[in-house]
C-alpha cells in the first residue's frame, strides 16, 4: 500500500499535471497518473513510482518516518532565511533628489529641501539599532532621494558601523550605495572604494527610454550624465562593484529586447526585469505609466527568450528568473525579501526614514509619505530594538503574511516558491490579508511561474545548461556529470534578500532600484 505525501498540483496544457510538494520539489506527470494517485491506485510497480518516491510525493510505507524527516529537513533548509532575522537595513539619508523621475515611488523632494536630510546623530542612532540585530552579517543600503546629496550622513554611518562592528559581534557589515549616478563626485566614489561600498544604480534602457521618465531637475539628459559617471564609478570603485536595475513602464513593455541589449552593451553582468509598483508618482500617473500584469507577463516571457538568445554567446542571467528557478530547482533558501512567506517585511528587511522612523518596507514608508502611517514600527530616537522588532505591530503583521493561510494561495501549486506583500495588499484593498486570486500581484507571479514551468517542461539541454549556469553563477555548466546542487546555500542565490547589489528606492517590485 502506498501513501501520498502532501503536495499541491496544477493542470498544464497537453494533459500534464504539475505536482509541487511542501519542500518545493516538483514533478510533471500525465493526467492519467495523477488520476491514479487521486484514486489511491498508484502501485509500486508503476514506472513513475520511483521518481515520485524519490521526490517525496509518495511513500511505499504507511508510516514513513524517514520520508517525513527528510521532507522536514528540506523544508527547514528552504526557510533558512528566517534565521537571519532582519539582515537588510535601508537608510533613507535624504528625500532630496536632483532628479524627478516620473515613476518615483518615494515622491522625492526638491534638491534644496534640506529639512528632509537625516542628521548625523540620527544616522548613528540607526547604526546602533542595526547592530543590535541578531544576524551575524548585516547589509546597510543608503537610499534616498539621492543619498549622495547628504554625504555627511552616509560617511558618518559607514565609519561608525565599521568602528562598532567587532564590538557588536558582527562578522560582516556590507554597504550599498543606491545612487542615480548623476550627482556623484569623485571623492564619494573613492570613499566607496576605500570602504568596500557597492554601487547600485538604475538604467531603464537606451537613451530615449531612460530619459523619458528619468528627468534631471537641472534639465539635460540624465542618460548622458549617467553614462559618463558609470565609467568613472567602474574605474574608481571597480567593474564588479557597480550594478543596475531597470523599471518597466508602459513604454518599456515593447522594448525589453532593446533594454536587454543596452545592459549587455554597457557591460552589465545580467538584467533584472522589474515591474512598476503603484506608489508615489507612479500611482499618480498610473494611466500613463502603468499596465495590466497580463501584459507584463507576456512581455517578460519575450524578454526571457531574448536573454536566452544572449546566453548562446555569453553568461548573462535574467535575475528575477534566476531567483525563481533557484527556488524551483534547488532545495536552498533564496531569501528574496519581496517574495517570501512569511513576508520579508520587517523580519528580513527594514527601512529607516530620514527622521528615524522605522518601517517594515520601503512601500510602507511610501504609504506614510502619502499620509498613512499604518505600518510605522517606531522611531529610533524613542523606541528600543526590542520594541520596534519584537513589538506587537510587527508580530501582527507577519502572523497574517503567510501564503499557507492566505485565501487564493493556500491551495496554489506555486505556494512553495511564492510570497506575499501585506503592504501592497493594504494599499490595494484596505486589508493586510486579502484573497489574492486575480490580484495584480497574483496575476504577475502566477503568470511568470506558469511560463517558467512550461519552459522547464520542454527545455533543450542547452537551455538547461544556461539555467544552471544562472543558478550556480559560475558560468556555463559542463552538461555531462549531473547538475551542480550547491552554490546558493544559506543566504546565497540572489543575495541576502535582494538581487545585489541593489539600487534604491524601489519603484519596482520592491526589489530595489530606481534611484
Amino acid at each position: 500500500m502506498t501513501r501520498l505525501l502532501p503536495f499541491q498540483h496544477k493542470r498544464f496544457p497537453g494533459g500534464r499535471r504539475l505536482l509541487v510538494n511542501e519542500c518545493g520539489d516538483h514533478h510533471f506527470v500525465a493526467e492519467a497518473v495523477f488520476e491514479l494517485m487521486l484514486a489511491g491506485a498508484l502501485s509500486e510497480d508503476h514506472p513513475e513510482f520511483p521518481d515520485l518516491q524519490s521526490r517525496l510525493f509518495v511513500s511505499a510505507e504507511l508510516n514513513d518516518g524517514f520520508g517525513v524527516r527528510k521532507a522536514a529537513a528540506k523544508y527547514r533548509s528552504r526557510k533558512a532565511y528566517l534565521r537571519d532575522f532582519t539582515s537588510l537595513h535601508m537608510m533613507v539619508v535624504t528625500v532630496r533628489c536632483n532628479q524627478r523621475c516620473e515613476y518615483c515611488q518615494v515622491s522625492c523632494a526638491e534638491q534644496d529641501a534640506y529639512r528632509y536630510d537625516m542628521p548625523v546623530s540620527t544616522a548613528m542612532k540607526i547604526v546602533d539599532l542595526i547592530l543590535e540585530a541578531p544576524s551575524d552579517s548585516v547589509k546597510i543600503e543608503f537610499q534616498g532621494g539621492e543619498p549622495t546629496l547628504n554625504w555627511e550622513a552616509v560617511a558618518a554611518a559607514v565609519r561608525y558601523a565599521e568602528e562598532r562592528r567587532e564590538k557588536a559581534g558582527k562578522k560582516t557589515v556590507d554597504f550599498v550605495l543606491c545612487t542615480n549616478l548623476t550627482a556623484i563626485r569623485e571623492d564619494q566614489l573613492r570613499f566607496c572604494r576605500d570602504h568596500g561600498i557597492s554601487v547600485s544604480t538604475s538604467l531603464d534602457g537606451p537613451k530615449d527610454l531612460h530619459d523619458r521618465y528619468r528627468v534631471l531637475r537641472s534639465k539635460g539628459s540624465a542618460y548622458d550624465l549617467f553614462r559618463g559617471n558609470l565609467a568613472l564609478a567602474r574605474e574608481i570603485v571597480g567593474e564588479d562593484r557597480v550594478d543596475a536595475l531597470m523599471t518597466a513602464t508602459a513604454a518599456s513593455l515593447n522594448a525589453f529586447p532593446e533594454i536587454i541589449d543596452e545592459y549587455e552593451e554597457l557591460g552589465f553582468g545580467g538584467v533584472f526585469i522589474r515591474s512598476l509598483n503603484p506608489y508615489g508618482f507612479a500611482a499618480e500617473k498610473a494611466a500613463e505609466l502603468g499596465y495590466g500584469m497580463a501584459s507584463f507577463v507576456a512581455a517578460y516571457a519575450e524578454a526571457f527568450r531574448h536573454v536566452m538568445k544572449v546566453n548562446r554567446r555569453r553568461f548573462f542571467p535574467e535575475l528575477f528568473a534566476t531567483i525563481l528557478l533557484s527556488r524551483i530547482l534547488t532545495p536552498f533558501s533564496t531569501g528574496f525579501v519581496d517574495l517570501q512567506s512569511p513576508a520579508g517585511t520587517g523580519i528580513s528587511g527594514a527601512i529607516y526614514d530620514y527622521d528615524g522612523s522605522v518601517y517594515p518596507s520601503d512601500e510602507a514608508r511610501m504609504l506614510a509619505r502619502m499620509g498613512d502611517a499604518h505600518f510605522r514600527l517606531g522611531n529610533v530616537h524613542v523606541d528600543s530594538y526590542r520594541e520596534i522588532f519584537g513589538g506587537a505591530r510587527l508580530k501582527d503583521l507577519i502572523r497574517g503574511a503567510c501564503v499557507e493561510t492566505t485565501p487564493g494561495c493556500a491551495y496554489c501549486a506555486y505556494q512553495a516558491y511564492c510570497g506575499t506583500d501585506p503592504v501592497r495588499n493594504y494599499l490595494e484593498s484596505g486589508g493586510e490579508v486579502r484573497n489574492m486570486a486575480g490580484t495584480p500581484f497574483c496575476v504577475k507571479h502566477k503568470g511568470i511561474f506558469d511560463f517558467l514551468f512550461s519552459f522547464l517542461d520542454g527545455m533543450t539541454e542547452e537551455e538547461e545548461d544556461v539555467v544552471w549556469s544562472w543558478i550556480t553563477r559560475s558560468g556555463r555548466v559542463q552538461a555531462a556529470g549531473g547538475r551542480p546542487g550547491g552554490g546558493i546555500g544559506g543566504r546565497g542565490g540572489a543575495g541576502p534578500g535582494r538581487p545585489g547589489p541593489e539600487a534604491c528606492p524601489p519603484p519596482g517590485d520592491g526589489v530595489a532600484g530606481g534611484v
Binding site: 503536495f7 511542501e22 519542500c23 487521486l38 517525513v68 522536514a72 485565501p407 484573497n435 486570486a437
Partner: protein, 103 residues
C-alpha cells in the same frame, strides 16, 4: 443524482449536491469569484446548496458558471487529497521548526 445542476434563468444559478461537494470547497471557489461577482450561497433543500453569481459590472463572463464548476471539481479533488495526506503537512512543518536536539 447529479453533482451540479446549472440553471441560467435569473442570472447564473448553480445547484450543488452536498453528496459531491463539501462546504469548504464551495467557499474556496466562491471566494475567488468575489472580486467580479456578488456571490450568494444558501441551502437548497436538505441535500443541496444553491450558489448565485451576479456580475458586479453588469456584463460578466459568459463562462463564469462553467469556470465555477471546474474550480469546484479541482477544489474538491484538493480536499480529497488533503484527507489522504492526513496530518502529515502539520507534522512536517512542526518537525522542520523543532529544535535540532529535539528539546
Amino acid at each position: 443524482m447529479k453533482g451540479i445542476t446549472m440553471q441560467e434563468e435569473d442570472g447564473e444559478r448553480l445547484i450543488l449536491s452536498k453528496e459531491y461537494f463539501e462546504k469548504e470547497a464551495v467557499f474556496a471557489v466562491a471566494s475567488d469569484f468575489t472580486g467580479g461577482y456578488y456571490v450568494g450561497i444558501r441551502p437548497h433543500g436538505v441535500d443541496s446548496i444553491e450558489v448565485t453569481l451576479k456580475p458586479k459590472d453588469g456584463a460578466g463572463d459568459p463562462e463564469a458558471a462553467r469556470e465555477f464548476c471546474n474550480g469546484l471539481v479541482e477544489q474538491q479533488a484538493r480536499l480529497d487529497l488533503q484527507k489522504r495526506f492526513g496530518g502529515l503537512r502539520e507534522i512536517i512543518v512542526a518537525e522542520a521548526f523543532s529544535a535540532i536536539d529535539g528539546k
